[in-house]
């Protein structure tokens, strides 16, 4: 039911209640004054997005950009790309693996307003060429270098859009790498942030690893070359007590053997 309909119904209910009351008991003291009528819904003005920015707007892959926003007069505020419902003002670190446009939607009874910001992602600067021809990288080194982590929301194991993008790129690379290294296998580690219980996080990490594996297999990566291993929250890559760190730990991570 829309807010508009709900308040109209509420006013109608109020009125009918008092009308019935008056009819029955004419001589008793009057009932308390009816509550002030709600302002008519159409008068509600749309929420105002004071600002929605990304700092910096251009990052190298793997780096963080900080989204900042402030909205007034909204009943709900959400940001796409898997960030979901957020508070009216705040900031969030994001780690897009590709150029990504984030759209903030602020909604109230008067309608909704959207604002978008784009984070441009560049490939990391190539490392200077080594003076001597480098020895051929091992399988493990190639996996560590080329296969990116996929990140998850708190208490969730379903794949966000950014995780799907990352895994799609990983699938292409893995198919090539497996062709070059016919004996290599990849372990997909499932990790969780520190906030849930260790027991539950072990189950959740297992789900994250399986979700990543299933997605890769769907894209044609041979299942018998992929193993899963949940660490839950036992092997965090970041130990600070904040969301940017927690996000880094909610991941499927790839190692080669």
């Amino acid at each position: 039911m829309s807010t508009k309909k709900a308040s109209a119904l509420a006013v109608a209910l109020c009125l009918s209640f008092f009308a019935a009351g008056c009819k029955k008991k004419v001589n008793v003291p009057p009932p308390p004054a009816a509550p002030k009528a709600q302002p008519a819904p159409p008068q509600v003005s749309k929420p105002i997005v004071k600002f929605f920015s990304a700092e910096p707007t251009t990052i190298e892959r793997g780096q963080a950009s900080s989204l900042k926003w402030e909205v007034t007069g909204a009943d709900s505020v959400s940001i796409n790309q898997g960030l979901g419902t957020v508070s009216a003002s705040g900031n969030r670190s994001v780690f897009p693996s590709d150029t990504t446009t984030y759209t903030l939607t602020a909604t109230n009874g008067g309608g909704s307003v959207t604002e978008s910001v784009t984070v441009n992602v560049t490939a990391p600067a190539p490392k200077p060429a080594p003076e001597a021809p480098a020895p051929k990288a091992t399988f493990g080194e190639i996996i560590a270098r080329d296969i990116q982590d996929a990140f998850f929301d708190f208490d969730k194991s379903d794949l966000r859009e950014d995780a799907r993008n990352t895994l799609t790129q990983n699938a292409d690379k893995l198919k090539t790498i497996f062709r070059d290294y016919p004996n290599g296998t990849v372990t997909i580690e499932g990790h969780a942030d520190e906030r849930g219980s260790a027991e539950y996080n072990l189950g959740l990490g297992d789900r994250r690893a399986i979700a990543a594996k299933d997605f890769l297999v769907q894209l044609g990566v041979p299942a018998d070359r992929l193993r899963t291993l949940s660490y839950g929250k036992e092997r965090p890559q970041c130990t600070e007590n904040n969301e940017s760190c927690w996000q880094k730990n909610r991941r499927a991570h790839f190692t080669g053997q």
Partner: protein, 450 residues
């Protein structure tokens, strides 16, 4: 004698139960006989060990939570060392400094004790020998006052001093129908050796010992009720699996893990013959039961959600509490029959609820819940499983997790990072008498066993 004590306890319990209608009062029992425990003296080489003897005795009695401990500052100056020191005066005069000790010294104000534990220690054939007595000082003469007197032997060192004191305390508690916690063990996980291993210690934090040495991650210990085996979760063999060790030989004994990405959270049935655990054999961590060696596996839950931490009711063996994120919700505590039927959510759905643990009577669970706090800020709660009434025992002091009950059903051991890093703490089931047991490294996942 025992009858008199029992009768007094019933009276006291009846009087106090009106002040504390909550179920925590019922768990704690409300009887509080006042006991005086004056420092005992030692002869010869025993003298240097009396600090350990007196400290251990006082703490065992205090920790049992059945006595009102009379503060030592109230005690009379003349302290008996043996029953023959008591001399009944013709006319009792508390101010006569030359008079011999008498029962009224202890029963009158300001001491107001009901009981007096006293004695002395000496050296005999190179051994420590402790002579201990318990007197009911409300009685009119020495013959009727004596509840018991006993001799205890130990080695002439700190271990022996602790042993004789623990045994004296246990005998005193037995008079009140209470099993001493001395001798009970707390198993826990510590990283102080460089990796997470299983450790054990006495209930008061003394004698901390390393049990496993896998140099991997070994965690979530659970001891069989018969005390012969310990099951835990370890990455020592690749994916996390259940590993069982004998507590007699400390060696690994076989447990057949289902083929799964993760098998974890083993916990035993009351007869120690079954193990409930969680396994992701289906692709989702679900609740299973098997024989103690892992054979005869059967699946109890069937959802597409993460379900962990099954705990079998230690009294009935027929119901199981566990943690589930079913329905896409945040993890909550549920119960079911041991065949998987009649699943009911016990917690309200708020926050994250984890780590359920039955009390020995099988009536209440302690668990960790973030209700009222941000994600990750767990506090310890106790719930009456029948009525689902709950009481919060800790509030806001860091992360408080993995509560498990002592064999006496009155104490709870848990982990808390309130002092910095995660450490093992104990408290009474009413949230009082907090004690920190560990301090080296990170310590977590305590399990209290007989």
């Amino acid at each position: 004698m025992k009858k008199t004590i029992a009768f007094l306890l019933v009276l006291a319990a009846a009087a106090l139960s009106q002040q504390r209608p909550d179920f925590i009062g019922a768990i704690m029992g409300s009887q509080k006989a006042a006991i005086a425990v004056p420092d005992m003296r030692g002869a010869g080489r025993a003298e240097g060990l009396m600090g350990v003897v007196n400290g251990t005795l006082f703490r065992d009695l205090e920790d049992a939570a059945v006595f009102k401990m009379v503060p030592k500052s109230m005690y009379p100056l003349r302290t008996p060392q043996q029953p023959s020191d008591f001399r009944k005066p013709l006319q009792y005069d508390p101010n006569n400094r030359n008079a011999a000790p008498w029962l009224q010294d202890w029963s009158d104000p300001p001491v107001n004790a009901d009981y007096l534990a006293f004695g002395y220690a000496a050296e005999q054939d190179g051994q420590m020998v402790l002579f201990g007595w318990l007197f009911n000082v409300r009685q009119p003469d020495v013959a009727t006052a004596q509840a018991f007197g006993k001799i205890y032997f130990g080695s002439m060192d700190e271990t022996g001093a602790r042993k004789v004191a623990h045994e004296f305390a246990a005998d005193i508690l037995k008079q009140f129908g209470v099993e001493s916690l001395a001798g009970s063990k707390v198993f826990f996980v510590s990283n102080r050796s460089g990796s997470k291993e299983i450790w054990s210690m006495d209930y008061d934090g003394s004698t901390q010992k390393q049990i496993t040495n896998y140099k991997s991650i070994s965690t979530m210990p659970s001891v069989s009720p018969d005390g012969t085996r310990i099951a835990f979760t370890s990455w020592a063999f690749g994916q996390p699996q259940i590993v069982v060790h004998s507590l007699e030989t400390l060696r690994k004994i076989p447990f057949l893990n289902p083929r799964a990405g993760a098998n974890q959270n083993a916990s035993y049935s009351p007869d120690s013959k079954q193990i409930a655990f969680s396994s992701s054999a289906s692709g989702f961590s679900q609740i299973y039961m098997a024989n103690a060696d892992g054979s005869g596996v059967r699946r109890l839950t069937n959802t597409r959600s993460v379900e962990v931490e099954p705990k079998i009711n230690p009294k009935t063996g027929t119901d199981i509490v566990f943690v589930s994120g079913r329905g896409g919700a945040s993890p909550q505590v549920y119960r079911m029959n041991s065949d998987g039927a009649d699943v009911q959510r016990l917690t309200t759905g708020e926050g994250q609820a984890t780590n359920p643990s039955w009390n020995p009577q099988g009536t209440h669970i302690a668990f960790a819940w973030t209700r009222g706090y941000d994600p990750g800020n767990f506090n310890i709660f106790v719930m009456d499983v029948n009525t689902r009434e709950y009481v919060q025992l800790t509030s806001g002091a860091g992360r408080n997790e993995n509560p498990t009950w002592a064999p006496d059903g009155k104490h709870i051991v848990f982990s808390s990072d309130r002092s910095g890093r995660s450490q093992i703490w104990t408290m009474l089931a009413d949230g009082s008498q907090l004690r920190q047991l560990t301090s080296a490294g990170i310590n977590e996942k305590p399990a209290w066993s007989k």
